[in-house]
Each structure stands twice: as C-alpha cells, then as structure tokens.
Symmetry: C2
Subunit: 307 residues, 2 copies
C-alpha cells in the first residue's frame, strides 16, 4: 500500500510534532499506511510532553524521495517544509496559517481554520470520522494547544481552542493549569543551546509581499534579561544566518510568557521594523510591548508595512 | 455587520452559481451577512436549474472594493477570480481544484477535497453545522453535482458525490436520471451564442508550470459535428483571445456528453498538445477519445508534459 509521510514544519514546535503523530494515527485508523516524521530536533518543551505521555519522537526525515505521498501538518509554505516537497505528491494539508507559495498540480484535501493550533482542527477531524482519541495522543494534542496559545493567553487563541483543550485534558487525565505551566516552563530552559541553535529553535522563513526575504525566530522565556546577556553571540549568529541565506531581514523575538511582551533583536530592513511597530531600533534591538504571536502580531504587521 | 461577498469563478458554471447561493444561505443561517454574486453570465444549463427550482440568478459583481471580505467557492486561482481579489480579505475558500497562485497574508478557512463538485463539500459543511438544506438549495446543489460529473460519468466523480447527490435528490424531490438528462441537455443548446461567447461559456485561464499561459475552454454537446460546422468562426474567436490576452495556448474542448469523447480546437503550443495526448493536431484540431474532464484529463496532463 502507498505509504503516507506525515510531517510538520522545519524547526518543529510541539504542534508540528504532536499533529504529525496524531494525523498518522488517524490515517492508520482509517486504513492507510501513515508514518509521522520530524524535520529537525525536538525542543525541550516537546521533549517534556513526549516524556510525560511516554511517546517516542518521530524519526528524522533525512530525504524526501521524488513522488512521495505526503501529508503536511501545521504549515504549507515550501520554505518551511521538507526539501523537495515541490516534487512530492501532497495528498492533504491540515494547517492554521496563511497560505503562501503553496501550489499543487492536482486537487487535494486541505483543511485550514484560523484557530490557535493545528491540533484543534485535527480534533474535529477525529470527531467527523468518529475515531476515538487515545489518552497519550490527547495529551500530545493538548500540549500543542497550550504551546501555541501560551496557555490561552496568545491573541491567536480562540474559544474553540480552549473548549477542545478542556476536552483533551479530560481524555489525557491532566490538570490544564498545572501541566500547562510545567510544559511552558520546560520550553524556557534555554541552557545548553549554542546561539546558532537558539536562533533556529523555532524559526520560520517567509517572503513578505514577494519582496522581503525574512527569517523570523522566537524563543520563550520567563526572564528576557537572562537571554539578553547573550546578545553579542546571538547577534553574530543572526548575521551569519542573514548572510548565508541571503535574507533581507532576520528578526529574533525573545518572548516573556509571564508578562506577554517581547524583546526583538533585528538586522537588515530595520526601517520596516520601526515603521511596523512605531519603535526605534537601537543597538539592533527594540522592546515590543504586548507582542507574543509571530502569526498574528509579526508576520501580518510586517507584511502590511512593506512598501 | 461585515458583509461577506460569496462568488465562484469567472465564466461561471452551475457549481459556481449553486455553491455561491448555498454558501451565502449557510453563512446567513450561521448569523453572518452574506450575499451571493456571479462573475459572468449564467449558462443555459444553470438557467434551466434556476428556473426549475424557482431561484433568481445572483447579482453580477461589477467591482470588488479593496479590503472587501469575500468567500471563494469552486476556485482559488486569482486569474479565475474577481479582478482585485488579491486586495480583498479572503475569509474562506471551499473548492475541489488544485491550489495555484493563491496567497493570503492571514490565516483563513480553507476546505478542499478532491471530489467531483464543490457542492459535495458544502453538503458536509451543512451537516457539520447541523443546518437543514431547503429543497430549492438542495435542487441547485444536486444540479451542480450532475453538471460537474456529467451525471456521474466523469472520472472526477467519487462515491461520495453520488451518495450525496442521491440525498440531495430526495430533499429536492426529483428523479436524478430524468432531471439530470434534462439539465445536461439544456446545457448543450449552443444556438444563439456567438463564437466569442462559445469560447467563453466555460473558460479557465491557467499558467502551466509557471511557463505556459493557457486558456482552456469547454462546451458540452450531444453532437460534436453540430459544433464543428462553426469551426472557422470559433478559430477566429480563439485567435483573437490568444492575441488580446497574450496566451501561449488556447485549447477549446467540444465534449460529447453521450459518448464521453472530446474534439479539441487548439492554437499556440500545439507540440505540447500532441505530446500530451499522442495525437497529431491537423487543421488546428484533434480528436481525444475518452477525454471529458478538464480538471482530471486536461490540466494535469498538459502540466506534466511542459518541458
């Protein structure tokens, strides 16, 4: 039988890993042969969730053979996907992002909704196929929602994310607040990462308005200063990225998940950053009050301000 | 309240009109303000369905204001959509075609499945929202499925299209075979159309592999010869289109819905046509046995053969 490869975006976050595992399980229940993969190392946050629910990490996808049948979760943009995805046979996408640069030659299944997390949409797909969600998968999907919505505090969070998270918490048998804080805290442990790793922990490459080639990275922390002491080495890593990838903008968000603010370190088109947030970039950095969501508060804002 | 404009593709077929009306009805039931529009004249087939179920045609969309909130049904490619769609706020797409050249700056609802007809997907959206489909809307949705699948004979037709069509026929209170043949026959009445109108009755502009700018048009008939007697004026109309739109290929399918074959009249990149179908184009025309579906048997085949 045709094998379906299921994967999320590069620099995978908890949603990309959890949704791959959940989607492969759903497809298997529907009689298909489906295997989850990851496109990079799992984060400490994701590792915490996998350990908690006793699930192994998906295998690393080393190479995508031409003509492979694939399911994309939590992304659609080729730059964020497996190398060679344009020559694969994309059968299905489940996602909660804007659609950009995504082209197919054949019709496909595409389920997208403007909700906080891919796992929220997946939950509804399980329901519509009347497939029960096992406890460990519910735990991973719950982790994905907590992660993407910063425990329901991000502006990307919808009522549906919250209601579905509550249902998943019941199946998984965990207390949302207690488990959620422990999960997010695990993700803020940035010790042991080199600066190169930090700027790639959760990174997305996007082209804004077909003009500005940007890489927008984010780390979560409980203390911005703790990350800012490493500013010189982070700056060097960002400049290296900018050069090697030929980027017009590198934008690194250090997000305080307790107080819901971000400090940005930025190189390249800083006029765009200043115009977008009415701030002054000084020493390659600026404070962005209330900004926590790359999807709702960074990509559309920068996009709208490209000349 | 924000008004949602709902429309299908240019040169609207029965699915584009029926799905616009059905989607606007569904959104209204869900508490939104939604109005269906059309992007061109309705065909005789669509007119037959509208008359049969006593529904008025949607208003013609004259101008799409910048920033309008829109829902696209039965298409996604900007070239097939309303002029200015790139500057609108696309809230939702329901479609059954490949995805191509479609970009948004924000997340949205996107429901696509590789089934024979948009109305088949819409039927499931009604179900998932537990909204009853009134008899006249069921009749239009049924007409769309019959039209898109050529009464279940097209290779695009899936089991789901057939099962849902049967459910819709019950709600609409019509006999599928009898009503279906009458509907398709109404669509083959090509009298009264100028050659210019003929080549635009059901036309789609697509760019194949980002290289070949093509316009692929189709008419249905019960007798290919009856259309071929007008070959000289059709050729003149096609050449005019090719020039004025700067196309690399104009491809006009005359489809025999009784015997499931097509005759094509083609100008431009005829080597691509010859290679794609292993035929010889002579006097700008070739017979394509078994070819009835632009979506399954024309666009992917031409796309795969572009060098």
């Amino acid at each position: 039988m045709e094998k379906l490869l299921v994967f999320g975006h590069k620099s995978p976050d908890t949603d990309s890993i959890a949704s791959s595992i959940a989607m492969a399980f759903l497809q298997t229940k529907l009689g298909k042969t489906a295997v989850p993969y990851r496109l990079g190392n799992v984060s400490k946050e994701t590792e915490f969730a996998l350990d908690y629910f006793k699930v192994g990490a998906p295998e690393l996808l080393e190479k995508l053979d031409e003509g492979s049948s694939v399911i994309l979760v939590d992304h659609n943009e080729p730059a964020q996907s497996a190398d060679g995805v344009e020559k694969s046979n994309i059968k299905m996408v489940v996602d909660h992002h804007r659609i950009s640069g995504f082209n197919t030659s054949d019709p496909l299944y595409y389920y997208a909704e403007p909700v906080g997390c891919t796992s929220t949409i997946l939950y509804k797909l399980f329901k519509s196929h009347s497939i029960d969600i096992p406890s460990y998968i519910a735990g991973l999907m719950l982790s994905a929602i907590i992660s993407d919505t910063l425990l329901f505090k991000s502006p990307t969070c919808t009522t549906e994310d919250k209601v579905i998270a509550e249902n998943l918490a019941k199946i998984a048998g965990v207390d949302i607040e207690k488990y959620g804080l422990a999960l997010l805290k695990a993700g803020t442990d940035l010790s042991g990462f080199t600066a190169e790793e930090l700027v790639n922990l959760d990174a997305k490459q996007v082209t804004l308005q077909d003009k500005v080639k940007a890489k927008i990275s984010q780390v979560n922390t409980a203390d911005i200063d703790e990350v800012m002491v490493r500013k010189p080495e982070i700056e060097a890593a960002l400049l290296k990225e900018k050069d090697s990838l030929g980027l017009d903008l590198v934008f690194f968000l250090i997000t305080d998940i307790i107080n819901s603010n971000s400090q940005v370190i930025t190189f390249g088109n800083n006029e765009l950053v200043e115009k977008s947030y009415s701030v002054k970039v000084e020493n390659n950095t600026a404070f962005l009050p209330g900004v926590v969501s790359r999807k709702k508060q960074v990509i559309p804002v920068l996009t709208a301000n490209v000349d």
